[in-house]
Structure formats: structure tokens, C-alpha cells
Amino acid sequence: MADPSAIELTSAAMSYSGRTLFRDVSLQLAPGSFHFLTGPSGAGKTTLIKLCYGELQPTEGRVTFFDDDTGHMDRDTIARLRRRIGVVHQDCRFIDHLSVAENILLPVTVSGGNIERARSDMNDLLGWVGLQALADHRPPELSGGERQRAALARAVILSPDIILADEPTGNVDWEMSLKILGLLIELNRLGKTVLCATHDMSLIRQAKTRVSSRVLRLRDGAVELAGAEL
């Protein structure tokens, strides 16, 4: 029997207040794959990412995590499933009164994991993303790029199977974009499934020279596989 898809959308549709954002979207993210999701602003990239980690449910169709239909899951089951999915948002979403280190450890804290053991992993991660000197700072004291890297460290602290990144380079300069892309590629080489939403075609072109990836384009309410025109 084939490995189940990490995430699979089957004929998924999403409508808000009578407006259809997308319809009949079917896609499979195979374990260990790297996908980009692109499309114009407002096309529904963030909504599709939210479907992929259960924050939203499709108005039609279904979404499965490792063959489990999210439509049949209660909030707590989805919460536990999210521990297998690391999410990086454009706005990072930190708890501002906690330090960077405490924010990175948050997934361990809420899942009742061993904090002492996780501290060692966190120090390694802080070194990996280059934020060791800022561990005790508060998130508002960080620059855009530093926040994105801290969010990435938090997303991978539980060693999840899937990384979902929603415009992770949206607020940073080109140099930092390449750095963040490099981190995502490293994670993919470690076997993580990566889905990265971005409207930055230069970044996608850069990535395609370094990693085997597919590009999904959301346009006119449908998802298509982008080809050579990239």
C-alpha cells in the first residue's frame, strides 16, 4: 500500500459570504515533497494554507491529514494534529510578553513535552536560524527577518512532518528571503514536506535551481500546476 499523502485536498471549495474563493481544488502533498503555492493577492493562498492545517474547513469537498478527514475531527484532535505540522505566517504570530526562547518552546509547552530536553533542541535551532543572541528578547524587539526565522524555529521545534509557510518572505529583503528559503530547503532535505505560499516569482525561480519542487498556481478560483513559463 502506498504511503498516504501528508495532506490531501479533494474537490475542496471555499466560499465567503456568497463569494467563491476557489472551487474543486484537488491536490496531494506527498511526504517529503516541496511545493510552492503562488497566485495574485486575494486569490486564496492564505485560505488554502489554513485549510491545510485545519484552521478552516472547506465549504465543499474534504481535507485529509495522513488519510484522516479533518471534517470529522473535533478541535482538540485538530490541535494534536497540528503538532505534526509547523506553520509560519507572514505576521509570525507570537505571544509578545514571552521571550523569543519561550515562544519557540511554546509547541513543546502546550503538548506537555519535556521542556528541559527541548531546551537543548531550541539552542541548536537558535544557532541554525542565527538568533542565539536574541533568545531572551521579546518578539516586538526583533526585525522582520529575525521574526520570520524565530517563527521557523518555533515551527520545527517538535520536528513536524509538514512545514506550511505563508508568505514567509513577505516582509523581508532579498538577502533575508534567500536565507529563509535556504532554511526551508534544508528542512525539505531532512525529509519534511514543505508547502510555501509566495507571490515572489524570483524566489521560486531561485528555489528551482536548488531543490526539486512543484509550483501550484491559484488563479480564477482553481489550482493549476505551473510549468515552463516560470
Binding site: 478541535r75 490541535a79 510578553h97 519561550e102 511554546l106 509547552t109 502546550v110
Partner: protein
Amino acid sequence: MNALLTLLQGDKSAESVVPRTGYTAALTIACAAAMAFLAVFVLALALSAGRQAAEWEASLSDTATVRISAPAEMANVQADTVETILSQTPGIGGTRRLSDDEQALLLQPWFGSDLPVETLRLPILIDVTLTEDGPDVIGLRQRLAAEAPGAVYDDHGRWRAPMVDAAQGLRTLSLTALILIASVTGVTVALAASAAISANGQVIDVLRLVGAEDRYISRAFTRRFTLRTLAGAAAGAFLGLIAVALIPTVAGGGLASAVGFQGLEWIWPFLVPLAAAVLAFAATRAAAARRLKEAG
């Protein structure tokens, strides 16, 4: 129960994710303190009213009075007859004829101490002590009417019942007030918790994003609100106890002089903060569950 034990054990990590500041903290503590203060007062009143009702009931239910109103030349004869009848009646434990001095003492509150009792035509009063079973009152009255027509048997029921009713009514009113205090405390804490949860929507979003279950998020708020309520209620109950202790005692002042706690009743005011904490725990948990469900 398990949830309460988990709460008591504490989860500092869950608690630290919610910012400590906010007007809901002060609101919860102040409300708990005020309500505990009132609860201690009302408890003292309820217990005292119950105690007084029982005391009046007990002190008057085992006694009766026979009043003999007859012409002077007949009064003593009828009194002797009454005493004879009473001594023969089952359910009568003893009798005692009140002296003129004792009657003067009874009238003193109305007429003063220099009342010339000997110039007044007062009825003869016989104080009757009843046994546990008491007499056959109807039969006794019939016999007294036949053999001593000036004698009237008074079992104190006419004025005992309204007093006991009043004391019991006061106790019922106090218990109703306690229920209202508990309800207001619960609602206030629940509202404060809801407000805190709403104000921390961003924190909850982040917690959900990183995989927090509802009970973890709920615990972060529940523990804090329960401990705040416990602290506020402990302070309020302490002040309430001081206030009750300072109520001036009036000798013979009836209920007013008896407001307070006696013997094992002292346990009750100490249970007020604990009850408030349990109430806050339940109210916050329910409020958190509702808000998290609404948030989707």
C-alpha cells in the same frame, strides 16, 4: 474533580502564556472580596436566626400558663382547684404560682418599678411545666372550664408561632441572599473571565496554531481566576469576621445581640473563600469553554 486537582497542582507554563495585567484582575479580586464580606454577614444572620428560632421554640414549647381571673373571694379557691386538676393531669411536669413580686417584675417594663401591685386587681398566674408528651389540651381546657370557670389555659402558641415564623423567615431570607451573592459572584467572575479571554484573542490564536488543546487554554485562565477569587474572598471573609465580631452586644437584645457564630458554626465563614474559589473555577471553566467554542 480531576480538573480541580490538576488546577491545585498548578501549571505555571499554562498560566504564564496569559498576560498578568488587565482590569479583569482587579475586578475579580474586588468582587470576590465584597461578596465574601457580605456572605459572612449574611451567614452570621442566617445562623443566628435559625439558632434564635430553635431557642424560642424550645424555651416556650415546654411551658404553659394558667391565668385565673375571678372575683377576689373566688380567685384563690379557683387557683387551688386549678393546681389540683393540673397535678392530676398526665403530661404536666409541675406547677408554680407566681408571687405578687414576680408579677410586678413582669409589669415593670410597662409601669415602672414603683407599681403598687397590691392596689391592682391582677389575675393569678400559674406557671406550668410540661412533660415531653404534654397534656391533652382540649380535655384539660374543658375540665378547667367546668371546675374553675375563671381559669384560662395558655400554651403560648398564639405569640410563640409568629416569633418562630419571623425568625425562620429571616433565616430563609438570609439563605436566599446567600444564593444571590453566590450567583452574582459566579456571573461576575464568568464575565471577567470572558472579557479576559476576548482581550487575549491573539494569545489564543497563537496557542491554537502551535497545537494547544482547549483544556490547556482553559486552564491558563481558570487557574488564574480561581486563585484571584480565592485571594479576594479570603480577604473579604476576614474583614467580614472582624465586622461581625464588632457588632455591639446588647444584653437581652434578642436576635440583634445574638448575630455571630457559635461553636462549630465558626467553620462556615472559613468555607466562604473555598466555596467562592470552587464557584470561580466552575464559572471560568464554563465561560472559557463557551468562548473557545464560539471562537471555533
